[in-house]
């Protein structure tokens, strides 16, 4: 279920612009890894290379390799569609399909793979996924309403339910709480803590308390100036990054001196 990610010397481009340079890091299964750093330093960009969503942007490409349990996601003959089926993603703004009901939203990914699922199995999966996203009790009586009728925090948990319904190996989250109120944020943080039992989780956050609360390891990215590529500055245990980092700029950033 949960798999190990290894990024080797990754450069990421938007056309001629090199947005990220020379990233290498290893992410253990069943752990939460936080990406932090000032905005524009390439956190989202690196995150989106892990499920090959980066390349849906015109002209965007990567150089380097990313191994999932040893298999190169960028190997020749690897279909990005299959990669995305194994690696789920939750976006910064909640994006349930507006014309689908809650139930249809949860099933959207599963039905892509497996059209002929029995109604009973579907019901089970909807319940299991919504419970997994801590949303079941709030919506169990109205699975037929459009997903867009929920509150922002509920929509984001619906998106998490949709992502875990396909039983991915990895769950990527790009600032999943930045559009949410503090209560919903806490609900999602608790959820991340639970999901860690089953999934490898990578989360981008601009909120350092959040990074220190939810993550086991933290990667600090930085950028030398506009137009320059972002780089991975330091990657270590979260406690160490926040108490005793080995690089000065990490220390400056986590202590709030810039960024």
């Amino acid at each position: 279920m949960s798999k190990r990610i290894e990024i080797n010397d990754l450069d990421v481009y938007y056309g001629a612009f090199k947005a990220v340079e020379g990233v290498s890091l290893e992410i253990e299964p069943r752990s939460v890894t936080a990406f932090i750093g000032p905005s524009g330093c390439g956190k989202s960009t690196v995150l989106r290379t892990i499920n090959r969503m980066h390349e849906v942007i015109a002209g965007a490409y990567v150089d380097g390799e990313i191994l999932l349990d040893g298999a190169n996601l960028y190997g020749s003959g690897v279909d990005p569609v299959n990669v995305r089926r194994q690696i789920g993603m939750v976006f910064q703004r909640p994006n349930p399909f507006p014309t689908m009901t809650i139930r249809e939203n949860v099933l959207a990914g599963v039905l892509l793979n497996n059209r002929r699922m029995s109604k009973g199995d579907q019901d089970d999966l909807v319940e299991r996924s919504l419970r997994g996203a801590n949303l079941w009790n709030e919506v169990k009586d109205r699975l037929g309403i459009p997903g867009s009728g929920l509150s922002g925090g509920q929509q984001q948990r619906l998106c998490i339910a949709r992502a875990i319904a396909v039983s991915p190996d990895v769950l990527l989250m790009d600032e999943p709480c930045s559009a949410l109120d503090p209560i919903s944020t806490l609900a999602i943080e608790d959820l991340i803590e639970e999901l860690k039992q089953e999934y490898t989780i990578v989360i981008v956050t601009h909120n350092m308390q959040q990074a220190s609360r939810v993550s086991d390891k933290t990667a600090f990215f930085n950028i030398a100036g506009t137009g320059k590529p972002g780089k991975l500055i330091e990657y270590d245990e979260t406690t160490r990054i926040f108490s005793n980092p080995s690089v000065q700029s990490t220390e400056d950033y986590v202590s709030g001196r810039f960024g």
């Binding site: 969503m53 995305r84 789920g88 976006f91 507006p98 014309t99 892509l112 009728g149």
Partner: protein, 311 residues
């Protein structure tokens, strides 16, 4: 209302700027003129149609018996045209917005817009001179081999100037409007919804089914209705292409074709006199009513499909 009221009073007490006054006068006049023109047309149609509707007509049929084949031909040819044009337009718009390389997409978009600029008389000429002779062997083949399907009952037309040929011409004529509107709508699909489906492992086509088409649903309906309106009222091309016999039949490859209201008016009006003028105007009233109805239905459909937040 409560919040708007104070704003309105402050605006009323503000000094009258000349430009505002002039603009208001011009726009009010224009609005009133449009209403007067519309009412004038309706009154004219009704007043002129009444003698034909209450009769008696020369060949002692009722007005409704006379106008029915024309109405049928109008609806049937427009329906056939839409069946061909709408899927085609959606496919082209999807290709332009989601599949074609940028360069090809802009060339294609330009070509489609050019199609819209061609006058209908040119389409009529093309229909007679090129399309009808080209389709005739196909009609003969259909009548011979698939004649058991009511649509293709033999005998086939010898000239190819059938209602299907007219419908194909109509389809080409409405294609640009529908395609252009669909293209705009598909381009406006929220990036977030497209990425949501791609991130779940949707192929490009699955992404279109999950994100693009649901988002564009009411726009597709609206653009189709616009095209339908044009197909219902198209005169010149149909008048030129269609060899009509006033029959009411679903056969699309034969020589016994129904005419359409608009084409019939254009062909008969120059020589009409007396009560026949009233009959033709009466058929115009029927066409007017049909287009109004179509518009009302489309508004109703759009209102219904957008309540669930169809954006």
């Amino acid at each position: 209302m409560t919040t708007a009221a104070p704003a309105a009073t402050t605006r009323a007490s503000a000094p009258n700027r000349p430009a505002d006054v002039i603009f208001k006068a011009v726009s009010t006049t224009a609005g009133v003129l449009i209403l007067i023109a519309l009412a004038g047309v309706a009154i004219f149609l009704v007043a002129q149609a009444v003698p034909a509707i209450i009769g008696p007509l020369p060949d002692d049929d009722s007005f409704w018996a006379w106008v029915w084949p024309l109405t049928f031909g109008t609806l049937w040819s427009a329906f056939l045209a839409m069946v061909m044009a709408v899927p085609m337009a959606i496919a082209i718009a999807l290709f332009i917005t989601h599949f074609a390389p940028r360069r090809l997409a802009s060339i294609l978009g330009y070509a489609i817009d050019l199609l819209a600029a061609i006058p209908s008389v040119i389409y009529g000429l093309w229909g007679i001179a090129v399309l009808a002779p080209f389709m005739q062997p196909a009609y003969a083949w259909l009548a011979e081999n698939l004649g058991w399907i009511p649509l293709f009952s033999p005998p086939a037309s010898g000239t190819g100037r059938t209602i299907l040929t007219a419908a194909i011409v109509l389809a080409v004529m409405v294609l640009p409007i529908i395609t252009a509107l669909c293209r705009e709508i598909f381009l406006q699909t929220p990036r977030l919804n497209e990425e949501a489906s791609l991130a779940l492992g949707a192929t490009r086509w699955e992404m279109i089914r999950m994100a693009v088409l649901p988002h564009g649903r009411s726009g597709i309906i609206a653009s189709s209705i616009l095209g339908l309106g044009r197909a219902l009222g198209e005169t010149m091309a149909v008048a030129m292409v269609l060899a009509s016999a006033g029959a009411v039949t679903f056969v699309v490859v034969g020589s016994q074709n129904p005419s359409t209201i608009a084409a019939n008016i254009a062909l008969r009006f120059p020589e009409a006199h007396g009560i026949t003028v009233n009959m033709l105007i009466g058929s115009g009233l029927v066409l007017f009513a049909i287009t109004l109805l179509v518009n009302a239905i489309s508004r109703w459909i759009i209102a219904k499909t957008t309540v669930d937040g169809g954006r």
